[in-house]
């Protein structure tokens, strides 16, 4: 890690070397279309990690945009609210009576739950408690998540810092400058609100190549600049290098850039903000572009004028961390990307012995490396059989953290909480280990191992 002065923002640039930017066909073009008004919206309680839902509506009820749909059993003041006005036509209950989906049939004309409006001046005198109350009641609070464990922030525990990552490096992620160029309303207001709410520093992390004046001119924040291949844009990496998490009670909040805009807009307009800009991309998709959508839209509605190959995998989120989905599934609450990639078919004959001019690899084991993987194609194939850990050093080469992943994985598999804590499990998140799963020669599900390990320490630590 080299730290040097960066002329434009006059700040230290944290340069990371480890990692990998996946070269993936089907990058979204910078062209924004509007997805229009869908007929239905869905809410999926499983999106909200840390909220145990208690329903407040039943089938047939009418809700307005911003009306509460369920609250959190552990934090009764925290609501999740409807992203549109209409009638609840279905509540899908799964195993052990878990609420899987709430479907809203939208009205022709939208009606809104009203919240108090503020302007730049009046917001400056708001108390932390008043901000918290408005965020909780409006259902926008869940956009604030906390580390460790990446669950919805606990309103009772203030964080030591708030992070706003503004430089996603994930495959197909929306470009920060492009999003802010469309409409930056609420950005400064959102940042100021987060500052007042938390009473802690708000760290705004931008990429090296940003030219956004909105970012450069942001106030009430501490600005940072990171560069390097993915996962340099992941918030977990930023936290690790700026305000590392010491233990399970050392809380950091993080909010995505577009959710900062939404927080600002809630206070500016007094309405629950439902719009966001997402990207749709991937080799198997006809039009790769930016789409303005409404929260809770189903994938098929977002891809309404878009054709995709029959044998393709729809992913809500990016290819490294997203959720395999069907067209009727809603886009995940925190997701800003839809990836559509080809499913693997057939089996390569003696693939391990061939020169591999068209095999995609981060390693130097195939000839494709001489062409930097151009001409290689990636699909959903595992490309090998699961084996035990053989520490070649691949996974270390894509994790830009001062953490020893091989040992952390071993201790996690052994469920040795004491060692996991010492090796930094609280600083970890599955999304930061996704590339480790990607490059592992033993085909271990490293991100899943970390996820299970975190769940284990959360329960038993």
């Amino acid at each position: 890690m080299i730290v040097r002065a960066y002329p434009i923002f006059d700040m230290k640039e944290i340069r990371l070397k480890k990692g990998h930017d996946i070269v993936l066909a089907g990058r979204p073009e910078k062209r924004l279309v509007n997805a229009g008004q869908p007929a239905r919206l869905k809410i999926r309680p499983a999106d909200f990690r840390g909220i145990k839902p208690k329903l407040m509506v039943k089938e047939g009820d009418h809700v307005k945009t911003g009306s509460p749909v369920f609250y959190s059993k552990t934090s009764p003041g925290m609501f999740v609210t409807a992203p549109g006005s209409g009638r609840i036509i279905r509540i899908a209950i799964g195993e052990r009576r878990a609420v899987e989906e709430i479907v809203i049939d939208l009205d022709r004309t939208e009606s809104f739950e009203k919240f108090e409006r503020f302007n730049e001046q009046s917001v400056a005198s708001l108390s932390s408690g008043r901000i918290k109350e408005q965020l909780l009641r409006s259902g926008l609070w869940p956009v604030i998540r906390q580390r460790p464990f990446s669950s919805v922030a606990d309103p009772e525990k203030l964080p030591k810092a708030v992070f706003v990552p503004a430089m996603s490096t994930a495959p197909f992620a929306p470009d920060t400058d492009f999003v802010l160029d469309q409409d930056a309303t609420g950005f400064q207001m959102g940042l100021s609100i987060l500052k007042r709410l938390s009473g802690s520093p708000v760290h705004l992390v931008a990429g090296k190549n940003t030219s956004s004046k909105v970012l450069a001119g942001a106030k009430d924040v501490v600005q940072h600049c990171f560069s390097g291949p993915h996962p340099a844009g992941n918030v977990g990496i930023h936290i690790h290098h700026i305000a590392p998490i010491r233990n399970r009670d050392d809380i950091v909040w993080y909010v995505s850039l577009q959710d900062v805009l939404r927080i600002g807009r809630l206070f500016l307009r007094g309405r629950f903000p439902v719009e966001k800009i997402v990207t749709v991309g991937g080799e198997s998709l006809e039009k790769r572009q930016y789409v303005k959508i409404r929260q809770g839209m189903m994938l098929e509605d977002i891809l309404w004028d878009n054709r995709f190959e029959r044998n393709a995998r729809l992913i809500s989120g990016d290819v490294l961390t997203g959720l395999k989905s069907s067209p009727e599934d809603p886009l995940g609450f925190y997701h800003e990307i839809i990836s559509v990639i080809p499913e693997k078919t057939g089996r390569d004959f003696m693939g391990w012995i061939k020169p591999g001019l068209h095999k995609y690899s981060v390693t130097n084991l195939f000839l494709s490396r001489l062409r930097s993987n151009r001409g290689s194609r990636l699909d959903t194939g595992m490309n090998g059989s699961p084996r035990v850990i053989i520490p070649f050093g691949n996974i270390e080469s894509v994790l830009p953290m001062n953490i020893l992943p091989t040992f952390l994985i071993k201790m996690t598999l052994a469920r040795d909480i004491d060692e996991m804590e010492k090796l930094g499990i609280y600083e970890c998140d599955p999304e930061d280990f996704a590339l480790c799963s990607f490059v592992d020669a033993s085909k271990m599900e490293i991100a899943e191992i970390i996820r299970e390990g975190l769940e284990y320490v959360e329960e038993n630590g």
């Binding site: 590392p244 290819v319 990639i341 004959f349 391990w352 390693t363 520490p391 996704a434 490059v439």
Partner: protein, 384 residues
């Protein structure tokens, strides 16, 4: 190809759960995936995966071993009759060495398979490397039954009793070699019988260096007809794969370029060897032990040092598994190798024992690197 796929798919039900040969599922998995890359798709994020797998990784090690193996075959023939010509020498060498490799693969493979079936896990490709490494460290005229016994010991005691591939403390090929070395010392290094031809005996350079007490080791080596250049090229008696430093270095280039072996171990090893050899040189005038006067270059090209540090010490499982740890581990092996060679002339070939010792120390080295890492993180916590 299609017919083969059809056949494999046809017999697959017999080997899967409930089939009549379901116990032999690892055998099916092995054969099936040798011919075809598994068609499984990702079930969870990340949805894409790199093309690397263990088969490819181990195959790369095999590729890296090829120059040394091919040279070893040629050299074996060459040692019998230097003037016979290239083809004749390859033939003579091949007749001697191919059986060694076959026995090693077949006997070791059967053990692997047996354990895979009993323990219900897949056959691990790491054996492809172990099974080739062992014969390459043996003299070409070793009896086949010794190879069979050695590889059995290496696979069972060196690997399977501690849990199989990935859990082994020691490099299994070296365990096998150490077993043969200590069980049948007469057939192994140190003795002058290293050639196929019965009437022709030749000492290895290391044996020559320590052959006469009190005589100058450097002079003894050159007196036996070995110049540094000879030993670098490798047309000298020695183990199958270990004589040509040149061929070994070309394998090292493959391993380092593909990052299958960690260059830090090799660099640390050479560094440790040079440091220890220079120290020995400095002490040489004050001692009767003339082995002390062997230069770092001698140590580098003599015996199995290069082969060991490139192919044996770098086994990722039995080596240290942290980057700083790999430096220390390599350095330790280099130092120990020179110490054993110079100070204990009962074991002139020090590299085998020094790597086994390095293997034994590797977990401890990693332990200290881990504590360092934890301490560093604690400091970062305190600083914010």
């Amino acid at each position: 190809m299609k017919a083969l796929r059809k056949f494999l798919d046809g017999v697959e039900p017999h080997f899967s759960e409930g089939g009549k040969w379901s116990r032999l599922a690892p055998l099916y998995e092995m054969v099936d995936t040798i011919f075809f890359v598994p068609g499984t798709v990702t079930s969870t994020a990340p949805h894409l995966r790199d093309a690397i797998d263990i088969k490819r990784s181990m195959f790369t090690v095999i590729v890296a071993l090829m120059p040394a193996l091919i040279f070893g075959i040629y050299n074996t023939g060459y040692q019998v009759s230097p003037d016979a010509g290239f083809l004749q020498n390859m033939l003579t060498g091949g007749i001697a060495i191919v059986p060694l490799i076959l026995v090693s693969y077949i006997v070791g493979g059967l053990w692997e398979l047996l354990f895979a079936v009993v323990r219900k896990h897949e056959v691990n490709e790491g054996f492809l490397v172990t099974g080739l490494l062992l014969p390459m460290t043996l003299p070409p005229d070793i009896p086949l039954w010794m190879v069979a016994l050695g590889i059995s010991f290496g696979v069972v005691i060196g690997k399977e009793v501690t849990g199989g591939t990935g859990y082994n403390v020691f490099n299994p090929a070296l365990v096998a070699r150490a077993f043969i070395f200590f069980a049948y010392p007469g057939e192994m290094s140190g003795d002058p019988v290293w050639s196929l031809a019965d009437d022709l005996t030749a000492a290895t350079p290391l044996a020559a260096a320590s052959s006469v007490q009190g005589a100058d080791a450097v002079a003894l080596v050159s007196g036996a007809g070995y110049s540094i250049w000879d030993m670098f090229l490798g047309l000298i008696p020695g183990s199958v794969g270990g004589t040509s430093t040149l061929a070994i270095l070309s394998g090292a280039v493959v391993l380092i370029a593909t990052r299958i072996a960690n260059w830090r171990i090799m660099a640390g090893g050479v560094g440790g060897m040079v440091a220890a050899a220079l120290l020995a040189n400095a002490l040489a005038p004050a001692s009767q032990n003339t082995m002390l006067s062997l230069s770092p270059l001698h140590h580098f090209v003599m015996g199995g040092f290069a082969f060991g540090i490139v192919f044996m010490a770098t086994d990722p499982v039995s080596a240290a598994q942290t980057d700083q740890g790999r430096w220390i581990y390599g350095f330790l092996i280099g130092v120990l190798c020179v110490m054993i060679r110079v100070l204990n002339q009962a074991f002139v070939e020090g590299i085998m024992l020094s790597i086994l010792l390095g293997n034994a120390f590797a977990p401890m080295i990693d332990y200290f690197v881990l504590r360092q890492n934890i301490a560093k993180r604690q400091r970062a916590y305190a600083k914010q």
